[in-house]
Each structure stands twice: as C-alpha cells, then as structure tokens.
Amino acid sequence: MEYLIIIISAVFVNNIVLAQFLGICPFLGVSNKVSTATGMSAAVVFVITLSTLVTYLIDHYILASLDITFMRTIVFILVIAALVQMVEIILKKISPSLYQALGIFLPLITTNCTVLGVAISVVTKEFTFGGEAHLLNLGETVVYAASSALGFGVAMVLFAGIREQLDLVSVPKAFKGTPIALVTAGILAMAFMGFSGLV
C-alpha cells in the first residue's frame, strides 16, 4: 500500500517535471516527436533507478560513516557520469538493439538534472507518504526513484503528443518555438495540478 502511494505521488501529484521543475531542458529539447520522447524516457527510467540505488548506498555506507556528506555533490555527479558511461559500454556489448534505441540519449543524461536531483533529494529530504515524515529506506528509495523517472516519461510523452499537433497549426511569429512550448507546458502543469490533494 505504501509503495502504491509513493508511485501515485511521484508520477502524478508531485510530477518531477511539471511540479518540481527538474529536467526541463530535455523536456523542451527532445519532445518534438513521440518516438524520441519515448526513447529518452526509457533511458531516463533506467539510469535514474540505477544511479539512485548506487548513490544511496554510497551515501549511507561511505559518506555518512566518514562524516563527509558535504562532498555529496561532487561524489554523486562523478558516480552518475561514470555509471552512464558504463551502462553505455555494457549495453553496446550485451544488447545492441537496446543500445540502438537508447544509445544517442545516454550521453545527454549526465547533465539531465533529474538524475542528480532525485539522487540528492532521496538522501536529504524527508517524505511523508501517508505517515510521519521520515527519510526513505532502501526499498522506498528504489520505488521513489523509478516512479519519479516514470513521471518524467509520462510528462514527456504527453507533451510530445501535444507538440506534434501544435506543428500543424499556425502560431504567431514571435511565439514560434520555445515560447509556445512553454505556454503549452504551463497549461499541462495546470492540468496536473488537478491531482493535488490526491495523496
């Protein structure tokens, strides 16, 4: 039950893009077509879940026990960069077809702030999922990370669908490109506000 609350909360209520403003660069940058948006989302789900698991373990067993948690930012970004590189190499070797699909998105992910954002927030922020405020344990961390990334995917694919339609209508010249995309994203965020209070 608690995991279900985490999933609903992270995907809909506190959607990482539309309510927490993380990962807006890829959200605006690679959302021109539904197919690329899907590929990017799949890569993000994969990387976020894995990197959050690794950074959580590093934080708990190395940084916290040595009392150097102020080094988080540097350590996490290095771990994420190395991990993305490693995933790329392994994927190339064991599953060329998956690499074909996700390959071009992987290098972009290192600087996607959702990855570092989720990794840092699970170790610093206290969450209230239908109970008292507490730091997440390992199981909750993995579920939260995966569903945050899923929320990114949902927002991304919905938005790409809207933008594909938007290409077909005529937009005032000054609004072409990013401005109209932002206004559209605003309206989408307004729709997602309807979920607030659900959990």
Binding site: L18, A19, Q20, F21, L22, G23, I24, C25, L28, F70, M71, R72, T73, I74, I77, L78, A81, T110, T111, N112, C113, V115, L116, G117, I120, S121, T124, K125, A174, F175, T178, P179, I180, A181, L182, V183, A185, G186, I187, A189, M190, F192, M193
Partner: protein, 196 residues
C-alpha cells in the same frame, strides 16, 4: 572584442534565458519571488565566473578527451564551496532555494560557457564573459520572479502592495512559471529584434 562588449553580449545578445534557452530548471523552479530569483542568479554567477576563470587557466593542461569530466569536477568543487558559504551566511536563502543549489553543477549554462568560451579565451576575457552571462541570467530571473510575485502574491520584492488581496495563486505555482517565462520570452524577442 573589448571587455565591455563581452559583458554586454552576455546580457543582451546571448542572454542565457531568453535567447540561448539554457538552464531552464532553476529559471522556473526558483522564481517564485523576485528575491529568490535574484539569489539564484547571483549564486549561479558566482560559480560561473570562478569556473570560467579556472577552466580558461587549465584549458591547455587538460587533455581533450577527458575535458568534460574535468570541467564537471571543477564546477562541482565551486558549487560545494558555494553551498558551504551559503549555509553559513545566508541560511534562509539556502533553505528557500533548496535542491537547486547543488543542481548548479548540471546547469547547462556553466558547462556551455566552458565549452563555448572559456576554453579558448584568456582568463580575463572569460571572467568578463562569466560576469555578462551571469548578470543576464540574474536579470532574467529577477524579472520573472518580479512578475510572478506581483501577479501571484500582489507584492514587490517582499513588500505587500495591496492589503487583503491574495493574487492569483497559480502564478506562484508551477503553471505560472512556464506561462510567464513563455510570454516574457516573446517580449524580449520583440524588443531585441527591433534594435537589430
């Protein structure tokens, strides 16, 4: 190019928010009020100037293949310095900006300037570029924060303008951020296009 020209370029012609469309997450996430926007802008400027200078100094020493990880380490070190300084001297602002301070590491403006400017220019020019781009970013964030605060909270830099009014809450929340930024971008484009 004169130093002044480099600074002016960063504010107008290469404005990171309105023209280059970089660093969107803090732009929308922290501009719930003018003060928060300005604080975020100045924090980013701090890191940007220092990382630009250091990367331009070290550019010749860093092998080309590992330059991106090297830049990230340099940037992350300055962000950690900033985090510790802010925790010590402006804890309220640090709490308000929260996650977005460590996330300066992955702000594409900083890595972008390192790649596009700092690694092929002198340290002094790179510092000017950092100041220009940083001020352009700060200005943009302050303006967005001002508009959102005014519409959403009926206040100006924390001063309440009308008693008893609540404003349109949506402008302080997520949707307002996207919509205000979209419209301001249109205004900025119109203004700068006329000049050119």
């Amino acid at each position: 190019m004169s130093k002044l020209r480099i600074i002016a370029n960063g504010i107008i012609k290469d404005n990171p928010t309105f023209i280059l469309v970089l660093g969107m997450c803090p732009t929308i996430g922290t501009t719930t009020s003018a003060i928060n926007g300005m604080g975020m802008g100045l924090a980013t400027t701090f890191v940007l100037i220092l990382s630009n200078v250091f990367i331009s100094l070290l550019a010749k020493m860093i092998p080309d293949k590992v330059r991106i990880p090297a830049y990230i380490v340099i940037i992350a070190s300055f962000v950690t310095v900033l985090e510790l300084l802010m925790q010590a001297y402006v804890p309220d602002l640090y709490a308000a900006l929260g996650l977005f301070i460590p996330l300066i590491v992955v702000n594409c403006i900083i890595l972008g300037r390192a790649e596009a400017f700092a690694n092929k220019n002198t340290p002094l020019d790179s510092a000017c570029d950092g100041i220009g781009i940083g001020l352009g970013f700060t200005l943009a964030l302050t303006v967005i924060g001002m508009v959102r605060e005014l519409l959403g909270n009926l206040s100006f830099f924390g001063m309440k303008l009308a008693e008893g009014g609540d404003g349109m809450l949506a402008f302080v929340l997520a949707p307002g951020g996207f919509i205000v930024l979209g419209y301001l971008m249109v205004v900025f484009r119109k203004l700068t296009q006329k000049k050119a």
